[in-house]
Amino acid sequence: MSNHVTGNDAAYKLRIARQLTVSYRVGRWFRGLWSLNLLLGVISLSTVTFLWEFAAPLGIPGLKNVPAPTTVIAAATDLLVAPQYWTGWGLSFQRIVTGFIVAQMIGIPLGLIMAMHRFSFGTIFPIIEILRPIPPVAWIPISIVFWPAREQSVIFIVFLGAFWIVLLNTIGGASQIDRKYKRAALSLGSTPRDLFWKIILPATMPSIITGMAVGMGISWEMVVAAEMIAGNTGLGYLLWQSFEIGAIAQVIVCMISIGIAGYFSSALIRTLGGFATPWRRLH
């Protein structure tokens, strides 16, 4: 609260000056990197990899059919130069992005409308409550029949994976806004339009972002499942095809690739979410 420097002024200035030097900052960054958590993470990961590598000769049933890490790495070096692998990444990403964006474009406005108008909530909510519990995977056959092209049916399954969660999160967030904010805004001279843009939308934003982050995870689950069943390209298809031809090491490479892709997609959503809600970044 106060701008005054307490204690010994010279010593304080010296401390500040030292904290601004490059070596001090690099040192602090390096110490931060070598935190206990990182160390523990490295130890546990290498232990698991080590056990996996040397478990096969121990004769644990089942595990002898699973290729060891060295075999997986060998398969990865082969696969990483195959064009099919990278087009698979590209196509899966494209389906995720399309299905996910359409889900947000419909889910967020619909959720806001439903939260603000009792009539639309009463009309639409029963339909949602019946359709929502159906796992998106169960929609695959109908989706294939309904959509003229396989591509569209895969995107539709991705859409379903992201849609319900963002819709429900938007409804939940927008209907839990404390009425004191609306009252304060009305006293300050807000129009209904201001109320929407300045109160309802930002107040709902954290819930929307949570819905998007969870929805992104489900989208990856759905794209893999849909590509396995209905697709003929993409990472999910590649994974299943590798299994069919008995290239199990390649299956594991695909699995890890999907994991990495999912991680980066969620990290992207979190970063964008941070920009959209700057007031929450402090915590």
């Binding site: 004191k180 904010y181 009252r183 805004a185 006293s187 300050l188 001279g189 300045k198 930002p202």
Partner: protein
């Protein structure tokens, strides 16, 4: 300048009727608040203080009587609810918009009402924030502030609209005793500098006497005005007032009135639970 902000509450009544359970929150409440008077209403919890404030602010309807300010009708049964910048509320839990910076919060009213240019509003905001001891916080978000800072910012946000009346709904309830006394002193400084009509709700007797020109005691539900006590302690006041003889006399008188009501409220609560 003509004195404005004269509040007139006449026979105000409010009956809640959710699910067929008849609850009389307010019954024949009459109170005149003069222009530039600091009026504090005290009463036991659940006596309808907030209901009364919400009716003045235009957040909630009356079912009987009427409330007017400077002759213009604010509330009466069936009247359309119209909150507005002439009556600014400082809320019990605080209602600064968490998603906007302090400066945005403080200047949004006059900018929205197009009463000030952005630069003028920013300057005025900075000036008022400085007057309550807040510097260099205009780019912070409210969540980054302490409880005492938030309450001061919210008071400044209200003042920026140059309202005819300020409505306070137990604004310092959540503050610790030390912070509370500092914020109370800041509020009095602002009031002494530029007097306004104030309608302030609390159940803290010391706070009531320290701030008020007049203290109105409300009865337990159905709420009505039991007694009005004038606080003839000269302004400007500071914390030393709290131990003065006159303060203690008023506190004793007020304490007696409120204690009866608190007991009734407690017994009514016991009956409801039984």
């Amino acid at each position: 300048m003509a004195e404005t902000g004269q509040l007139s509450i006449r026979n105000a009544g409010k009956i809640y009727d959710p699910d067929g359970i008849h609850v009389v929150a307010l019954q024949r409440v009459s109170l005149e608040v003069k222009a530039n008077e600091f009026c504090v209403v005290v009463g036991p919890s659940g006596c309808g203080k907030t209901t009364l404030l919400n009716a003045i602010a235009g957040f909630d309807q009356l079912t009987d009587g009427q409330i007017s300010m400077d002759g213009a009708l604010l509330a009466s049964p069936g009247k359309k609810l119209l909150p507005g910048p002439d009556r600014m509320v400082v809320f019990q839990q605080g209602a600064l918009f968490p998603w906007k910076t302090v400066m945005w919060n403080v200047t949004c009213g006059p900018l929205k009402q197009e009463r000030m240019a952005p630069a003028e509003a920013a300057e005025k905001g900075r000036e008022l924030l400085a007057r309550v001891g807040l510097h260099d916080i205009e780019d912070s978000y409210p969540e980054g502030l302490s409880g005492g800072q938030k309450r001061r910012v919210e008071i400044i946000r209200a003042l920026m609209n140059d309202p005819k009346i300020l409505l306070f709904d137990e604004p310092f309830r959540a503050l610790d005793a030390l912070t509370k006394s500092v914020v109370q002193e800041h509020l009095l400084e602002l009031f002494d500098f530029a007097p306004k009509t104030v309608f302030f709700i609390t159940h803290d007797l010391e706070e009531a006497i320290f701030l008020a020109d007049r203290v109105a005691v409300m009865t337990t539900r159905p709420g009505t005005i039991k007694k009005v006590i004038a606080v003839d302690i000269p302004r400007p006041r500071d914390y030393r007032v709290l131990t003065s003889g006159r303060f203690l006399e008023i506190k004793a008188e007020l304490g007696e009135a409120i204690h009866e009501e608190a007991k009734k409220a407690f017994e009514a609560g016991e009956r409801e639970l039984a």
